[in-house]
């Protein structure tokens, strides 16, 4: 019975894993193939890897784009984690009628498609371009600001805070911690896994963000990775082998972040903590 169950589980998971990984593997195979083979969906590795990489590094500045994406994603993630967890904590632990209303209104902000608010947002950043160029059009600041505080993560932290044992807050207060101290010394360490999950998602969102960086950034040297890949596909005769190479390079950081962060998803935080 036990065996049967685990056979079923492993078969099921293996099938799911194959289905999930297949396109990713094809991507890896494609970077070794010529454009002609990629367009025909060839599944066998070829010998064009070095060629593709050479062309890629010769035609586009992929390293600066990776740097830009990394800077933006790291700052955005840190700001998001800090601000959203503060707010999510505040809304749940210091719950009040007024705050509940404010919270519900905040949720509204994630319901509108970004395309609808893009033009007014662009105008706003355009108007401060002269007084504060580091926040104006074509600045990394302008990319980060509107994405660093989102109701999405506040909502996420608040929902997780509902599972946070409130006794710990009280215990902290009794120990003489200030309100902010309780947050930093008790809440943050206890909610490590929640932070890890938020970090994965936030990093990924920021890394893949396309529309806003596209309209707000102008100089080629400030381009992020998705913009660079979009350019690669724009010519009348796109080289799919090279495009795939860029895509693979662009995908690795998010996969890596996930891999590092998921290690925190182990054992319960309370009760019987197992190694």
């Amino acid at each position: 019975m036990k065996n049967l169950k685990s056979i079923f589980i492993y078969t099921f998971l293996s099938l799911a894993a194959i289905v999930s990984i297949f396109p990713f593997l094809w991507m890896l195979v494609s970077i070794t193939n010529k454009s002609v083979d990629v367009t025909q969906g060839r599944l066998i590795p070829g010998t064009h890897l070095i060629e593709n990489m050479k062309t890629l590094f010769a035609t586009v500045d992929i390293v600066p784009a990776l740097m830009n994406s990394a800077i933006i994603a790291i700052i955005t993630t840190i700001l998001t984690l800090l601000l959203a967890s503060l707010a999510g904590y505040g809304f749940e632990i210091h719950r009040s009628k007024g705050k509940d209303i404010v919270f519900n209104i905040l949720l509204l902000s994630m319901m509108i498609p970004f395309a609808a608010i893009m033009v007014p947002l662009y105008r706003m950043f355009g108007s401060i371009s002269d007084t504060a160029p580091f926040l104006g059009i074509d600045s990394l600041g302008a990319v980060i600001l509107p994405t660093a505080t989102t109701a999405f993560f506040i909502f996420f932290f608040r929902q997780n805070t509902k599972m946070f044992p409130k006794d710990l807050v009280e215990a902290g207060r009794i120990d003489g911690l200030s309100e902010i101290g309780v947050f930093f010394r008790i809440y943050m360490p206890t909610m490590k896994t929640t932070y890890a999950a938020a970090a994965i998602i936030s990093f990924m969102n920021s890394w893949n963000n396309y529309l806003w960086p596209l309209v707000i950034l102008q100089s080629p040297e400030k381009r992020t990775i998705p913009l660079l890949i979009s350019n690669l596909g724009s010519s009348y005769a796109p080289d799919y082998g090279v495009i795939m190479s860029a895509i693979v390079i662009a995908t690795l950081p998010t996969a890596l972040v996930f891999f590092l962060m998921q290690k925190h998803f182990v054992a319960g935080m309370m009760g019987s903590v197992k190694g």
Binding site: V36, M118, I137, D138, S219, S230
Partner: protein, 431 residues
């Protein structure tokens, strides 16, 4: 936990430092852009092997007396459309380029949607110097705005080896009608098992090319009234499309990479499309010598000609600081420089629409890939015959409606009913 905090602090520090340093760069760049006399003009285009390369050549060839740098920036075409629309509609000229390349099908949309955003070139260039068919779409309200650039002249790219197997030569496909083309297609499929062409039911470029052979378009000459129901050319084109489907000579593809994949792998015997496909055709080096290009088939109607167009684009100058300099740059390069066009043809294979340029030697070169055909000179002579139409405002909006109509038609709905439906929908949607 301590390690975690330490890492956090380090990361923040690094990130802030990086952001600040790039912020400083921005500040200095921004202030120089803000002043009224510009020392850098910016140009946007999309294809590094084609129009970006053409800009580079123009920059080298520029001989005017303007003292400025030309900053060429590559953006994907869709990206340019999004950036322009967002920037222009927000009313901020910040971050907008001086020169931008716009596809001809979209030009009227931009000119009419943002009337003061573009700088007229009526007094700068002579519109008679360019292929006739380009003028209607690049001008608006009596002013010439666009500087016509690449020709979207269409050709029928054929596999001579497959044709031979079926007993045909490229001459047999020269100056034929679409109906004749279908008949040949059936024979070719019989003999070789290969489809005659690719068809993408979601992309009606095929229909566009067909109706332009008869000087017709989706809209009336005013550029905005839908002209679908009762449009005989469109009816004929729809019928022809269905015939191709029924004759089973088309390989169905669903996107660009499959389209390219189909002819690269030798799955089709011909590719009717714009001449900008040449580099993609040549990508399959093993097929060298097996291709030829003949004029586009025409609709089987009175007045239709064997010349058409697909795509093509023109340069526009935005009404921002530096517009005079940008205009001077364009006049002294794409606007008058015959040698530049020779270079474009020789080095990039880019076919312009500046009429005087077609006389040069570079156009007469024989292309081995196409069995020694003087491809560019052929294409260039067909360019002159393309019937001029005003593409107007709604090419893509109407096409999305037509795609649905085409589905209905292929599934058996009466053609008249289909076209009346799409006419009604278009009128409702494009108020």
């Amino acid at each position: 936990m301590k390690k975690f905090y330490l890492m956090l602090v380090l990361l923040v520090g690094m990130a802030v430092l990086a952001a600040c340093s790039s912020g400083d760069e921005e500040a200095s760049g921004g202030s120089s852009e803000g002043s009224s006399s510009v020392d850098t003009i910016t140009a946007w285009a999309w294809d590094p092997a084609f129009n970006i390369a053409a800009l580079e050549k123009a920059k080298e060839a520029y001989s005017g007396d303007g003292d400025f740098e030309v900053n060429i920036i590559e953006n994907a075409q869709d990206d340019i459309i999004q950036k322009l629309n967002t920037g222009l509609s927000s009313g901020t000229t910040k971050g907008m380029p001086n020169i931008v390349l716009i596809e001809d099908y979209r030009a009227q949309s931009f000119l009419q949607a943002y009337p003061d955003a573009f700088h007229p070139l009526t007094d700068v260039i002579n519109s008679n110097d360019f292929a006739d068919y380009k003028i209607a779409t690049t001008s608006f309200d009596g002013e010439q705005y666009g500087l016509p650039f690449d020709s979207g002249v269409a050709g029928l790219y054929v596999r001579t080896d497959y044709l031979e197997e079926a007993g045909y030569t490229p001459e047999d496909l020269t100056n034929i009608t679409w109906d004749e083309y279908i008949e040949i297609g059936k024979k070719v499929k019989e003999a070789t098992g290969k489809n005659m062409l690719t068809l993408d039911p979601n992309d009606l470029g095929q229909i566009r090319m067909m109706i332009q052979t008869n000087g017709s378009w989706y809209v009336d000459e005013d550029g905005s009234t839908p002209n679908l129901a009762g449009n005989e050319s469109l009816e004929k084109a729809f019928e022809t499309y269905k015939k191709m489907m029924d004759a089973d000579i088309g390989k169905i593809v669903s996107d660009w990479s499959q389209f390219v994949g189909a002819f690269n792998s030798g799955d089709v015997a011909s590719v009717p499309t714009g001449n900008w496909i040449t580099p993609s055709i040549k990508q399959a080096a093993d097929q060298s010598g097996k291709w030829a290009v003949v004029p586009m088939p025409r609709l089987d109607m009175e007045g239709a000609v064997n010349a058409s167009n697909l795509g093509g684009s023109s340069w526009y100058i935005l009404n921002v600081d530096g517009k005079e300099q940008a205009a001077d740059f364009m006049l002294n390069t794409f606007g008058s420089n015959v040698d530049l066009y020779q270079t474009l043809v020789k080095d990039i294979g880019a076919l312009g629409t500046y009429s005087a340029a077609a006389e040069g030697d570079a156009y007469a070169v024989e292309d081995e890939f196409f069995g020694g055909q003087q491809l560019l000179s052929d294409l260039s002579s067909w360019t002159d015959e393309i019937p001029g139409v005003n593409y107007g405002l709604h090419t893509y909006a109407i096409e999305d409606i037509l795609v649905t109509g085409m589905q209905d038609y292929l599934n058996g709905t009466e053609l008249k009913t289909v076209l009346e439906n799409v006419q009604g929908q278009a009128e409702a949607q494009l108020k």
